[in-house]
């Protein structure tokens, strides 16, 4: 461990830089190949990777199996769309405001939900997410069952988000920054305290750590990052839809995290890439792609208990 961190360019870091460089030039490559459609697809991959990563922080680092992450992911999308309908077009003001509102929401939901544990925590987070889903689809200003379309993308002066390349790079940048941030966080005092809580909550309480507050903070951080992913998603899709708030969306994100590797730094990214990639690839060759995805997921559960990341990387 010490030796690896001492060498300036360790193997992992080199790999990471190579992947990042490839990701940066990808839009130009796709445009050159005349495959512009895939820029949108790649952007979607990055957005879902960010959302799954945010959930992985809550599940893998905080040890809280939250089954209502769609409330924050889809909620972010809806809030951005609502604020834009209200005339707040600038992403510089709109997105932070959205994240702030979602943070408050997550703080309230988390504070109540953390009274329960285990399976009951799973179900109460689901309950809150479903409440938000049904409330939103009843709101006329949120477009009801039809969702809320955007006339244009957020403005991010001096950048033009209307350009698909720019939106892609923004998603890539935000994902990279978030991953870096979460890595720093997990190596900080706070991260070690979270790891301690995950191993033995009672002991950490006895040591005087404010366990509930630390877990709540983790829950809120995850929610805020999910809202950021939602802000990107609504710009990519051109609308906020009820499906983004429904429990199947929460289930999808959870499946991505478990598939990729719970608690692994790249678990969320890997899971999102593989699941969405599989869906896209299988859809080209068969009508029944879900059958094969189901079989693949089963195989992963039975033969790769620590997720895909556990197959490829030794440590987290």
């Amino acid at each position: 461990m010490m030796r690896a961190s001492r060498s300036v360019l360790s193997g992992t870091l080199l790999g990471e830089l190579a992947l990042l460089s490839f990701a940066i030039i990808l839009p130009w490559l796709l445009t050159a190949l005349g495959e512009d459609y895939y820029i949108g697809f790649a952007t979607r991959l990055l957005i879902y990777a960010l959302a799954a990563t945010s959930l992985n922080f809550v599940v893998g680092y905080g040890g809280m199996v939250a089954f209502g992450h769609a409330a924050f992911f889809g909620g972010g999308a809806y809030l951005v769309a609502l604020l834009m309908t209200g005339g707040l077009l600038s992403a510089w003001a709109n997105w932070p405001l959205t994240m702030l509102i979602v943070a408050l929401l997550a703080w309230a939901i988390g504070a109540i939900s953390l009274r329960t544990r285990g399976v009951y925590f799973i179900m109460i987070t689901l309950a809150f997410a479903q409440m938000i889903y049904y409330s939103v689809i009843s709101l006329k200003i949120a477009g009801g069952d039809d969702g809320l379309p955007l006339d244009q993308r957020s403005s991010l002066f001096p950048f033009d988000l209307g350009n698909d390349h720019i939106l892609y790079w923004l998603a890539l940048g935000l994902l990279a920054i978030s991953l870096l941030l979460l890595k720093r966080l997990s190596h900080s005092r706070y991260g070690h305290a979270l790891a301690g809580i995950r191993q033995n909550e009672t002991r950490m309480e006895a040591l005087g750590y404010p366990v509930q507050q630390l877990k709540l903070a983790c829950f809120v951080i995850g929610a805020v990052l999910a809202a950021l992913a939602g802000a990107l998603l609504v710009n990519q899709n051109g609308m906020a839809g009820p499906g983004q708030l429904y429990w199947t969306q929460s289930g999808m994100l959870l499946v991505m995290v478990i598939l990729g590797g719970v608690g692994h730094r790249y678990g969320g990214v890997l899971g999102a890439f593989v699941l969405l990639g599989l869906e896209e690839a299988l859809a080209q060759v068969t009508e029944h792609s879900h059958l094969y995805i189901g079989l693949i997921l089963l195989a992963v559960v039975l033969y790769a208990p620590r997720g895909l990341a556990g197959l490829f990387f030794k440590s987290r």
């Binding site: 598939l259 879900h290 089963l298």
Partner: protein, 305 residues
């Protein structure tokens, strides 16, 4: 007029609650005894409805369809438990979520491949298609049958779990699995039996609700979440909790949907009431669950001491 409406809705709520109980009973035992999250429980319900509808169409008899659904799903349940689920008991909840989510995808796609994307038609038996007179209220005969069957099955389960040797094992397993094993109860066999029983109850619910709701892909997911709400409210592993939770959820949901829009109209404009009413009704049961968990974090009737 108003009282008639309310009584009718109370009966509907009872009927919905009893059907939820059929699903929740199996789910809560699987959950309580083996500590296993089974998201694919709703797929068993869908499977029962499809098998029953197909067999009814082929034979022309509702009873033959019902029999096919029950026997078919018992076999599928057995097979599923022995081949796959048995390997998941010792794993963590997340692995179980992933595996059973995969089963949902597979089951939905299989149903679509075999029966196509269109919903299947399943009609109630001819003799029960009309209304019956019930203390001066006319109520659909088929719905009344569902209530009767539901009550009978609930009574049977209560007797089975509360007053037989096998039921004693089940309760012992739910309150402390290791201790039950140490005392010589074959938990493996017990659980295979419970899972098959759960599948049969799912099939019964699917078959009975088939004529009222559409038999289609995805029908399992909607009701699955309700069943989870029920067992969480009742306390995981408790049959009594599942019954109380089912009736609570069934009543609150049905009455909310039927009466809230009307009630709201008396205090707000009809336009707002028409929009807010249904949404508020959908939120009610989740509100109920959150409230129960807030005051009783392990449900109303915790099975574990």
């Amino acid at each position: 007029m108003m009282t008639q409406l309310i009584i009718e809705q109370l009966l509907n709520g009872l009927q919905f609650g009893l059907m939820l109980f059929l699903l929740a009973a199996g789910l809560t035992l699987v959950f309580g005894i083996m500590d296993m999250i089974n998201l694919s429980h709703g797929s068993l319900y869908m499977g029962g409805a499809y098998l029953g509808a197909a067999a009814t169409q082929a034979s022309g008899s509702f009873l033959v369809g019902l029999l096919a659904a029950l026997v078919g799903m018992a076999l599928i349940g057995l097979l599923l438990e022995v081949v796959l689920l048995r390997r998941l008991y010792q794993r963590d909840h997340l692995s179980q979520v992933l595996a059973t989510f995969a089963l949902i995808l597979i089951a939905n796609e299989l149903a679509r491949m075999i029966w196509g994307p269109q919903p299947l038609m399943l009609n109630a038996p001819e003799v029960l298609s009309g209304p019956v007179d019930l203390f001066g209220i006319s109520y659909p005969a088929y719905r009344l049958l569902i209530i009767v069957v539901g009550l009978a099955v609930a009574g049977l389960l209560y007797w089975l779990v509360g007053h037989t040797r096998a039921g004693m094992w089940v309760r012992a397993g739910a309150s402390n699995r290791e201790m039950a094993q140490a005392l010589g109860i074959d938990v493996r066999k017990l659980f295979t039996g419970i899972f098959a029983l759960g599948a049969v109850l799912c099939a019964l619910a699917g078959m009975l609700l088939g004529p009222l709701l559409a038999v289609q892909v995805g029908m399992g997911e909607d009701i699955l979440i309700l069943a989870f709400v029920v067992i969480v409210i009742g306390g995981i592993g408790s049959i009594r909790g599942a019954l109380v939770g089912s009736l609570l959820v069934g009543m609150v949901d049905t009455l909310g949907r039927a009466l809230l829009p009307t009630l709201l109209r008396t205090i707000t404009s009809p336009d707002i009431a028409a929009h807010v009413g249904p949404a508020l009704a959908s939120v009610l049961i989740y509100l109920l669950m959150a409230a129960v968990l807030f005051w009783r974090p392990t449900g109303l009737f915790p099975a574990r001491a």
